[in-house]
Symmetry: C2
Subunit: 225 residues, 2 copies
DNA sequence: ATTATCTATAGATCTATAGATAATGC
DNA sequence: ATTATCTATAGATCTATAGATAATGC
């Protein structure tokens, strides 16, 4: 099962050094897996311990309570910010808005398609955290930091200023991607669901680029007519 | 609490006709409320019965098992389709795409802001049903039926054919609204959250109308320049 | 006789703790 | 002495059922 697991026939007492692993880390990962699959109430402390191959009371040596395990999962494996993805982008890409948008969208999808990221969204979907103010706030921050980029593009004349506020533009770009995450990028997603999400999101990026950067595209369009 | 409730001091035996109410309906509504608030595992059969002011075993007179209650909640109070909203729209509105889009979006929001609708999305968010194939399928159908309208508009020349497929357009319009539902239109949403959702979605509709029906808007735009 | 309710309870969990045991590291 | 594990168990649920009770409707 896991690296630490040595089965249930383990003998009493502290195990020899050779057998010791990252028990706490293994417990956290097992907790994430089970919470994502069955929800908080649907997961027993016993089940988490058994998943790692230990007895349930070990868990209380590492965490104060069941709730503390849940909180630790969120805190330690918690949501990787979309802002980080944005900041990691090559700044020179900003001179080519369509390329910037395509790259950004692809990178976000890479991030959200990772197994742990998918388990986290499932955990949130299992336990009402989708409605959590923390998530709404996180989305506000992400959209806000993308809005800054749109503001620059408007100032630079890459797109019409009358379309909507930078924030509206950022929301129109990001929210279809966020929805794809909720619908298809869950813990138990099959490869074909990942592919659907990826295509859906790529198509959205194309539509967005064409509709929003039309001013620039129009010139090209007029040329070919 | 509820119409049926007569407190815990109720005497044994079948209650007189005057006191009888729609027990099954009250149990279903109580179940929806609690499942939406605390999730399936977080809600006990006892808690549902107590909410209605009855003892827990009454529930087994109406439903075979706890799971059967949950299924009945979904089946009887289940998702009101967005397709119904679309079909209820005045067909003559289709000649004015911007008005059509604004009206559609407002009507969907009315639907999703209703208390029972919000409790349902919370129930789904509490129990991993957000990832359920049934919901994904429902969204596919809704977007699909809206795509038909976009196809007509493209044929009628209301918008450029090269923007994206009718399906892409429908997804770009609907998914930010669907995300708003998940984020703000939950069971415990405060009036200010409902207002945020409504404004967010209205602003999105405006942006969408301007960006997508630009061909039509451009004429107007050129006039004023 | 049937229906709608109640009380009581069996049997299966679940969380959390107490106390035992054995390896580690000073 | 400390740390990491185990076994055993207390006490609190939870689901589901059995059997009692009283009103209803034939």
């Amino acid at each position: 099962m896991t690296e630490t697991a040595a089965g249930l026939g383990r003998r009493r007492g502290r195990p020899p050094k050779a057998e010791a692993g990252d028990t706490k880390g293994a417990l956290l990962q097992a907790a994430l897996t089970l919470f994502a699959e069955k929800g908080y109430e649907g997961t027993s402390v016993r089940a988490i311990a058994r998943e790692v191959g230990l007895s349930e009371s070990v868990l209380y040596a590492h965490f104060d309570s069941k709730r503390a395990i849940f909180d630790a999962v969120l805190a330690e494996l918690g949501p990787p910010s979309a802002v980080a993805v944005l900041e990691a982008l090559d700044p020179t890409l900003a001179d080519d808005p369509p390329a910037f948008v395509r790259t950004l969208v692809a990178r976000i999808l890479d991030e959200w398609a990772a197994p742990q990221s998918r388990q986290l969204i499932s955990l949130m979907a299992q336990d009402g955290l989708i409605h959590d103010p923390a998530l709404t706030a996180e989305i506000r921050v992400s959209v806000g930091s993308l809005a800054v980029q749109f503001e620059r593009w408007i100032a630079a004349g890459y797109l019409a200023a009358d379309l909507g506020s930078p924030w509206d533009l950022a929301y129109a770009l990001m929210s279809p991607i966020a929805l794809a995450r909720v619908l298809w990028l869950h813990g138990a997603a099959k490869p074909e669901e990942l592919a659907i999400a990826r295509e859906r999101v790529a198509r959205h990026a194309e539509l967005f680029v064409k509709a929003v950067f039309r001013a620039a595209a129009d010139t090209q369009y007029a040329d070919t007519q």
